[in-house]
């Protein structure tokens, strides 16, 4: 589709772009103490975008000369991105980190990042892939280092920028090799070219594949490309940590799945039961091992943490590992499982981080000991936190269980050659119980009882917590509609 034609299908992104512009202009108008009002503009824009995303759909097409796909698959991830961006913006109002900073551009950058994530979810051309990743990365560097006077935040952004640039550089090198092998930048053409490659190209293909994996792996923080995660997560403002643990990860998975399915897969549509990897690309086993390693490392290291925030950072690595379990299966159920998991994970993880933000604001710390006796002093927050922890562990009847359930179901369905992976997965769930329940233990079992009860003072806090808790709980036993919606989103644009 030509560029001009494409624009007519590009409404969500256009609205988002306008939102960004409006936000920047608004930021110029507001005084510093009013700068948080920019958020309302952004939120309005996001709402419009959400509306536009829901309205689009219909025909599958490749926009801008086949670099961007419009399909339900991308739309699902866009919705995910919009929901998480909205929540993060709302959460930022209460953030203690951001006090004393001009936050207008903070919200603008979030909106730009959302735009980048949109592109990630729908890129079908390696140029667009690189472009999208870079937009997201650069915005993330900003956000991670947003607290200019805070050394941790500085350090986080430095590490992030160096590691990010490094891995995207390596990925780019891999992409260049792939380009050389196939002579094209478009996913579909690449697949056809690879299918015709002789065995002598294998080494180069593997080399490029692995290099590309570095880029993707960095985005979803898969082992062994996860090293930046704990430091960046801990140093960044907690709102941004929450955001980084959800939205870019979702978009990263979207891109990864698309890339898998279209470049290194046989190109069968997702609606079919299974597609296979191209013979000469041994993706599945590699990713399976990485998945196992990712969740094991994430879980094991999370046990050691003394800070809840850092524990959540490591646990987010583990969750990436759970989701990665479904990648090598090359089945529709696998992708389906990842999508459901991401949705469920969004609510519970944002919720957990929000409680961390809240406690940080009220108590001033984020270590486990700061949570002692929380169950008596802040029964509502502690109760909701318990729910999130239980959900993150993956116990029914919470959303976390449903996510895991679909993932494990996909793994089991794929046949007995992946049972070991399911086994590693469930063992990891048990390990994760230990550190998640530790939070609960500190809230209820440790520390003194107190008769003074404090409820959240701001209504916004209550609303956010409830808005995150309800899906976390309700999707645990009623997920039929969600499952159907996601099932309908399992349609990937397969080229002209």
């Amino acid at each position: 589709m030509s560029n001009l034609n494409s624009l007519t299908h590009f409404w969500p992104e256009l609205i988002l772009t306008v939102t960004v512009l409006v936000a920047i202009i608004a930021d110029l108008i507001y005084r510093k103490e009013d700068s948080f009002k920019v958020a309302w503009w952004v939120l309005g824009g996001l709402a419009l975008t959400l509306f536009a995303v829901r309205m689009s759909g219909g025909a599958l097409s490749g926009l801008f000369m086949g670099t961007i796909a419009m399909d339900p698959f991308a739309n699902f991830f866009k919705v995910l991105v919009l929901i998480s961006t909205t929540f993060v913006i709302l959460m930022s109002f209460d953030s203690a980190d951001l006090k004393g900073y001009r936050v207008g551009e903070y919200f603008s950058i979030l909106a730009i990042m959302a735009f980048g994530l949109f592109l990630m979810a729908s890129a079908i051309d390696v140029i667009m892939v690189y472009l999208a990743i870079e937009i997201v990365s650069i915005m993330s560097f900003f956000l991670a280092g947003y607290l200019k006077k805070n050394q941790s935040s500085n350090e986080a952004s430095l590490k992030y920028v160096i590691y990010g640039a490094f891995s995207s550089g390596i990925m780019l090198y891999g992409l260049s090799l792939l380009f050389g092998l196939t002579g094209t930048t478009k996913f579909f053409e690449m697949r056809e070219a690879i299918a015709q490659l002789g065995p002598d190209a294998n080494l180069a293909l593997i080399l490029s594949a692995v290099f590309i994996l570095v880029g993707f792996g960095y985005k979803i923080s898969a082992v062994p490309f996860h090293f930046w995660t704990p430091d960046v997560y801990e140093g960044s403002p907690t709102t941004i940590t929450a955001y980084l643990s959800v939205a870019p990860k979702a978009a990263g998975f979207a891109m990864l799945i698309r890339f898998f399915n279209q470049v290194f897969g046989d190109g069968a549509p997702l609606g079919s039961d299974a597609w296979t990897a191209l013979n000469n690309v041994p993706w599945p086993q590699l990713v399976a091992v990485l998945a196992a390693a990712t969740m094991t490392v994430g879980n094991l290291v999370a046990i050691q943490q003394s800070s809840v925030k850092r524990m959540l950072a490591y646990s987010s690595i583990a969750h990436a590992g759970y989701m990665m379990m479904a990648l090598p299966l090359m089945t529709q159920s696998g992708v389906y499982g990842i999508m459901i998991y991401l949705l469920m994970y969004l609510f519970m993880n944002l919720g957990a981080f929000y409680v961390v933000i809240y406690v940080q604001g009220k108590i001033g710390g984020e270590s486990f000991d700061d949570y002692n006796g929380l169950g008596w002093r802040m029964p509502f927050v502690a109760g909701v936190m318990t729910l999130f922890m239980v959900a993150l562990t993956g116990l029914p009847p919470t959303a976390g269980f449903i996510g895991k359930f679909y993932i494990f179901a996909a793994v089991i369905e794929a046949g007995s050659q992946y049972y070991w992976l399911a086994f590693v997965g469930v063992v990891n769930s048990v390990i994760s119980l230990y550190y998640y329940i530790r939070v609960v233990k500190h809230m209820y079992l440790s520390g003194d009882r107190s008769d003074s009860i404090s409820m959240p003072t701001s209504n916004l806090t209550t609303v956010i917590l409830i808005a995150l808790a309800i899906p976390t709980f309700v999707f645990g036993w009623y997920f039929s509609d969600v499952a159907d919606w996601i099932h309908n989103s399992l349609v990937i644009f397969q080229g002209m």
Binding site: K149, L158, I162, L175, S176, F179, T185, E234
Partner: protein, 101 residues
């Protein structure tokens, strides 16, 4: 006339130098320069493939994109490093280690 493989060799050498720089340098700016080398190694590859593959202009376009993005990235990175210098009085990446103390 040099062959494709010699260009690729240049690319590979650049890439390796970049990697080496990134891994060994302690100075934040130097590390960034290593990253730039890696990016340019990729650029060399793109252009070489585009030129010798007898292909379309995609490679050139790609290289242009990379240059632009690298510039943007460098701008952000330098901004961050300046900020770091303001806070830590050093740009040695090893000394920037507040976290996990």
């Amino acid at each position: 006339m040099a062959s494709l493989s010699s260009y690729l060799l240049v690319g590979a050498v650049l890439f390796s130098l970049g990697l080496y720089g990134v891994v060994t340098r302690r100075n934040g700016v130097a590390v960034l320069m290593g990253v730039e080398l890696i990016l340019n190694a990729a650029n060399v590859n793109f252009l070489a493939f585009a030129r010798f593959g007898g292909m379309n202009m995609a490679g050139h376009v790609y290289a242009l994109f990379v240059i632009v993005l690298a510039a943007a990235e460098a701008a952000v990175a330098l901004a961050i490093i300046i900020n770091i210098f303001n806070n830590f009085n050093t740009i040695n990446v090893d000394e920037v280690s507040e976290l996990k103390q």
